[in-house]
């Protein structure tokens, strides 16, 4: 079976999640990745979503469009209020925050607020939602996004959600003692951040992708890990689970 872009993101995202952990997940690809992880190698993974839903067991064919609807709460273990859900992350209960696409820069800062000047934007975007909170409060954050040059930019126009800010220890100096972006997972490869400079670094390429292709689709100089690897393509089992969960292909494309 060949994978769509969203299937590839979901599979590669799922593989990064570990068993016996907690994940604060957004809708779309992060949600598909989290459920796939639960149904493969991480059955003891607990999910929370932003609407204030802990431990749901989503119904195949009835996946939620928003984090605040009955499909998101299906067979949940707990429905705390939204502020209380985020405060669990501030307390430190969430191992991983998992969020989707946005404009992203070489230090992992995200912009979902405005393209151009903030006061008079060229394009006004929807806003932070919970992305700023998830990236500020979870122990580590993984970002799943389609790899496009317009998204991967040298410096975001507006820091909606702080990655490593100006790099180095600037995130910590601004009061964010915890967390940070550990992985950026795209349809071309998997990225981490260099320990000192906190610049984005290519760790692995998906089968068929090349370093040149990554550089062409990135608006800043791509650092390449000396131990660059290649990922294993999505298996029929992984794709089968995703297609069973989303038979109308609303989320997997």
């Amino acid at each position: 079976m060949s994978a769509t872009v969203n299937e590839l993101l979901a599979v590669m995202g799922a593989r990064e999640l570990r068993d016996d952990t907690t994940v604060f997940t957004g809708v779309g690809a992060p949600m598909m990745a989290s459920v796939l992880a639960q149904r493969t190698h991480a059955p003891r993974l607990t999910m929370m979503v932003e609407g204030g839903v802990i431990g749901p067991m989503w119904k195949p064919g009835e996946l939620p469009i928003s984090t605040n609807e009955m499909r998101a709460a299906y067979r949940a273990q707990m429905l705390p209020g939204i502020s209380d859900a985020f405060l669990l992350a501030q307390r430190g209960f969430f191992d991983v925050g998992f969020i989707g696409g946005a404009q992203i820069d070489r230090h992992g800062n995200l912009n979902t607020s405005a393209i151009g000047s903030y006061a008079r934007p060229k394009v006004r975007l929807p806003g932070s939602g919970g992305a700023n909170d998830i990236i500020s409060l979870c122990r580590e954050v993984m970002i799943l996004t389609v790899h496009e040059k317009r998204r991967f930019t040298e410096r975001v126009d507006f820091v909606t959600s702080p990655g490593y800010l100006d790099g180095g220890d600037s995130r910590r100096r601004r009061g964010l003692l915890f967390g940070g972006v550990s992985r950026v997972i795209t349809n071309l490869g998997i990225f981490g951040f260099e320990a000192e400079s906190r610049r984005m670094q290519l760790l692995a390429l998906h089968p068929g992708a090349t370093v040149e292709q990554v550089q062409e689709n990135t608006g800043f100089e791509v650092l390449v890990s000396p131990s660059l690897t290649t990922t294993t393509p999505p298996t029929d089992e992984e794709l089968g689970i995703l297609r069973m969960l989303d038979p109308r292909r609303q989320f997997i494309g």
């Binding site: 932003e50 502020s83 985020f86 009061g175 964010l176």
Partner: protein
């Protein structure tokens, strides 16, 4: 720097609340009586979240009065924010996110009104706005938090940091938000205004505590004994509530947990109108759905019984 000092004046908010009658009288009245308490220029905090338990009947009745100069705040703003902008009722929106959801794309109306500067848009993180209501609910001028630190969102509303007096750590002093009016929709209440919410509680309980005036619609008005049989389910006590109206399907076509599902096809038709005619698409929609029907039941009749019954059946399937 767009935050208004009256939003975090906890002293004035406390005095206003102390002066307010807190009688255990019946609060039950008409939808129209409830929204008559809103004045031009008020800050209105809307309960629910995105297309869940939105106080749409209250917004519907409010817009029919052609108000002006309002601020709408809501944690995730759905198309009621677009109605506020296009109708001319709202000149400031306070939220963490605006749109309907991923399948419907960016809000063209948010883009048009915010990019041109016609409406002020004050953006917080989701928890940031939640803590603003929470601080007000607690009667304090701010709450310390680690969220939003280091981001450019700190400058949007004029957030300040404080140094923890015990650890020296830098913290975000999230300013309280005391709205003039709360608009809330709940599953059930008794006539005294004791409110019970099923499913996710969103931020409604904090908003009820934060606001000077609390207006509630309920799917069902139940006898007082029914509330007393399950007092653990009550999240808003009657003395907080100023006006209550019985409005079945009071969030429709948004969802109400356990009662009815949302209508994504209706959202798509609404957005199609915007894609074809921009703000005029919303104006046409408001004419048909808000201004033309003189009673809320006439508004519901535009959807038809079959759709509403189906939405209720889906809700039962998803919650049992």
């Amino acid at each position: 720097m767009t935050i208004s000092p009256r939003e975090h004046d906890f002293h004035a908010a406390r005095r206003r609340l102390e002066a307010k009658p807190k009688s255990a009288r019946s609060k039950l009245g008409s939808l129209e009586d409830a929204v008559a308490r809103v004045e031009d220029g008020d800050h209105l905090a809307l309960g629910g979240c995105l297309y869940s338990r939105t106080p749409l009947a209250l917004v519907w009745a409010l817009l029919r009065r052609r108000p002006r100069g309002l601020t709408f705040s809501r944690n995730l703003m759905c198309y009621e924010g677009e109605w506020g902008m296009v109708s001319g009722a709202v000149d400031k929106v306070v939220t963490s996110w605006m749109g309907i959801g991923l399948p419907w794309g960016l809000s063209r109306i948010q883009r048009e009104f915010v990019e041109s500067g016609r409406v002020a848009f004050e953006e917080w993180s989701h928890l940031g706005l939640g803590l603003r209501y929470r601080a007000a609910a607690m009667g304090v001028p701010f709450l310390p938090s680690l969220t939003m630190l280091g981001s450019d969102l700190m400058d949007v509303g004029g957030s300040r940091t404080i140094q923890c007096p015990y650890t020296g750590q830098t913290l975000h002093a999230v300013p309280a938000l005391f709205p003039e009016v709360a608009l809330l929709h709940v599953q059930r209440a008794d006539r005294l205004g004791n409110c019970q919410i099923d499913g996710y509680p969103h931020m409604d309980a904090d908003i009820a505590r934060a606001a000077a005036t609390v207006l509630v619609t309920a799917e069902e008005i139940v006898p007082e004994d029914e509330i007393r049989a399950h007092p653990d389910r009550t999240v808003i006590p009657g003395f907080m509530v100023d006006a209550l109206a019985h409005v079945p399907y009071g969030s429709y076509p948004h969802e109400c947990y356990g009662a009815y599902d949302a209508e994504p096809d209706h959202f798509t038709a609404y957005v199609d109108g915007i894609l074809q005619r921009g703000a005029a698409g919303v104006a046409d929609y408001l004419e048909k759905y808000v201004y033309a029907p003189s009673r809320h039941s006439d508004y519901l009749a535009l959807f038809g019984d079959t759709r509403m019954t189906d939405a209720a059946a889906r809700a039962r399937m998803l919650t049992t």
